[in-house]
């Protein structure tokens, strides 16, 4: 079946079989490999992209379902001049990634979360990322990154303050 859609702002037209998963369409047909496949039960979120601006798990969307729609991947968050988005920048500054496998999905989920709730509490961020698994970071710096992107952390705490101290806190 032929599908026509926009991927990261570029119009595309491709012939695909109905069972082709959107994540494989993006990776194998479009060559956009930031989104990863991490599970088979729609659990882990490593495949998260934006469909018409909203986060979806692209492993559970058929490419044919995206016909006529617009898809944004992590690659597409980068400006023409190479500047990362505020969310990507915040992840970098707050060490919100280690092995990086969950990261593009996490960034897309966070981007969608902040679009819907620009001023979340820590609890809302944790719940907002309940569909995105990470094995490396323990989530601590991911949460910090999202709150930083939301502008919650003040400049002084900004890059990297984690509450660690060499003084004993009573």
């Amino acid at each position: 079946m032929e599908i026509k859609l926009t991927v990261n702002g570029t119009a595309r037209s491709d012939e695909v079989e109905p069972r082709l998963l959107l994540v494989h369409y993006l990776r194998e047909v479009c060559g956009l490999r930031a989104a990863n496949v991490g599970c088979d039960t729609t659990s882990c979120g490593a495949c998260t992209v934006l469909l018409d601006g909203e986060s979806v798990k692209s492993c559970t969307v058929l490419a044919v379902q995206a016909n006529g729609r617009s898809v944004t991947t992590a690659e597409g968050l980068v400006a023409e001049d190479g500047t990362m988005s505020a969310v990507q920048q915040a992840f970098r500054e707050n060490h919100g990634l280690q092995c990086g496998f969950c990261t593009p999905g996490m960034v897309m989920a966070a981007t969608s979360l902040l679009a819907e709730n620009p001023d979340p509490t820590e609890q809302q961020v944790r719940e907002g990322l309940e569909g995105n698994f990470c094995r490396c970071t323990g989530y601590h710096n991911i949460i910090r990154s999202v709150l930083a992107a939301a502008g919650k952390l003040s400049g002084a705490e900004g890059a990297g303050g984690t509450g660690a101290s060499s003084e004993v806190n009573a």
Binding site: M84, G100, T103, P104, E130, F133, A164
Partner: protein, 766 residues
Amino acid sequence: MSILGTRVLRTEDPGFLTTGAVYTEDVQDERLAGACYVHFVRSTVAHASILSIDTSAAQDADGVVAVYTGKDLAEAGIAPVKPMMPNMNQMMVQSLLATDMVRFVGEPVAAVVTEEMYQGEDAIELVDVDYGILPAVATMRQALSGERGLLFPDAETNVVVRYGDESESNRDLFEGCEVVVSEVIQNQRVAPAPMESRSGAAVWGEDGRLTAWIPNQGAQGTKGALVGILGLKPEDVRIITPDVGGAFGAKFGADSEHAVICWIAKQLGRPVRWSETRNENLLVMPHGRAQEQKITIGGMRDGTVLAYRLEVLQDCGAYPKAGAFLPMLTRLMTPGPYEIPRAEAFTTSVVTNTTPVGAYRGAGRPEAAAAIDRAMDLFADASGVDPAEVRRKNLLPKFTEPHKTAFGAVYDSGDYVTALEKALAAAGYDELRAEQARRRAAGDTLQLGIGLSSYVEITGPGGEAGGPNENSTVEVHPDGTATILTGTSPHGQGHQTVWAMLASEELGIPIDKITVKWGDTDLVPRGGGTGGSRSLQLGGAAVQQASRELLDVARERAAATLEASPSDLVFDTEASAFTVKGDPDISVPLSSLAEAERLFVHTVFTSPGPTFPFGSHVAVVDVDTETGKVFLRRVVTVDDAGTVMNPLLAEGQRHGGIAQGAAQAFLEEVVYDDDGNPLTATLADYPFLSATEVPSFDLVDMETPTSYNPLGAKGIGEAGSIGSTPAVQNAVIDAVSHLGVRHIDMPTSPQRVWRAIQAANGSKEA
């Protein structure tokens, strides 16, 4: 201004965040053009003889290039793989593809090769395997008793190996103890479940060499494993390590599937690719932990511990792998950071019809820490002494000279009491106890639990003659850039950034001009990889040493160039140049000394021995006593791994370890039914930790350097996961101890907690 000890952002990240890292599944290389895809047919039963395998329907299916079984490998002369250590029962061999027997659900039985990826999952459904079902040895106890039979009749036992001679057990170990407590506890099986499952790509070149892309924790070890399994010549094999999406101990060496795809690539004369599904990953990637422990602890009513016995039953799964030998490390760390006059440990490793068990973050040491810290709390409970006080009383006092334990471990430096006090103070221990008392008096539904752990662990071990070591090459180029080759193998730890920091500190070259390479066996033929928290203390030290040795070489060249004596030269790090003492206008840049002749040094750094980071964790939980559900509210930790090179990254390692360790305590478990069928083989069923179950963590800094390397660094990678597991478990039990509960096995699921409350009879007597 030193760059060491500062929060340098990772140079890896811009790529990781935008186009994504390049994992094995992402690799696009012209050598892999036209690759076909391998999918595996796997056993659906835990224990059976293979009566027949009918591949005819699969062979006729769309896009199928070939179908291979164990028979094809045997005919090609590929022998089954023997257990990795000679003291393990050598009859317990594993065929790469099962031939006459399957011994766990998920064991590979056949390999189907297709032109396109999607065709593979269609084709494997068409392979028909006829199984003769046998009783499954589903548990360690069944393995020991023999009631379900033997996995390897030729082995005449289900026992793989033992450590410690039980016949030498001291029957009077607990003589003179006023209080003795004993409990059988579980350190349950968990799944490493890195976010990147296993995969591989392989091609044989016209030069007769194999090039394989495999996610791993040490390309040199992976190469060695493949060479051994397939009977190849080392010079014919090149392993390339793409970015690796987490490993946690489960990606060392080479698995059956890696060997099979390399072999298939040779048979077909075509490049071959393979990726497993998450279900396969949870079924087949080696599991972690899986110990049953009997702990017996005795001492005086004032809280002094006199004696401790640890008896370990280790589940190896169906084929002995690293898991079989980990109890040796558990035994080594039996007393932990405590001074226990009389202690002994005995371990037995057995096979069962389950997934093989391997190394998983901490690999044998978390098991020891969990046992001794559970024992300390049981002892505290039985003797009526506060758990913090029991620890204070029994921790080894501070030492700066190496301390050898009765089990042969030589702890390099330690200050365990200070770590405990810092953690308690940061947690507000007294206030927490007061709040707990208030809620107990009020009979609140939500009760507060406080759990402690004090741990020490062994990092950077090495069995090599001459001590643990790692190599590095540092080269400075005429254009002012530098390249570092390292034998370590990062998979999220940030070596690219920190190794550059270490070289930059010596050479004055900015880190964005330094390239770090690893994981290509043609480029770096030797290396110990990354595991056992070895990388900074050995690999980082090697980078520093190579950089310093490079300056020595450069100094000679500079002296010749400037017609001065080497001792008259000063290296100006900021300028990255040699100048003449007292005459700074006469200088020569370091990079220029590489123009006439390459400027590089290869060095090996050798440590006198492994190092021993340590710490204390305080976990705070709420337990809903009506439902048993546990809410993890706080984890306050001291994790002392000596001098910290990059606090940002060190904290990240601690966070990740704390979360994984906590997850084992209250959430995660691999479960099998009584027929050996796995019940937790998807991420929906396996209770993998998500962001909503853990809080942000409170880290307290403490650095007690080691004298074993110039950095003063010990290993941080596993420490967090060692301390948090017992702290969280102890906290849950503490929350309901006033109701008479003294032990709850991990994970402290709501059902387990609720049942423990029901089983205990009302309020505890004072």
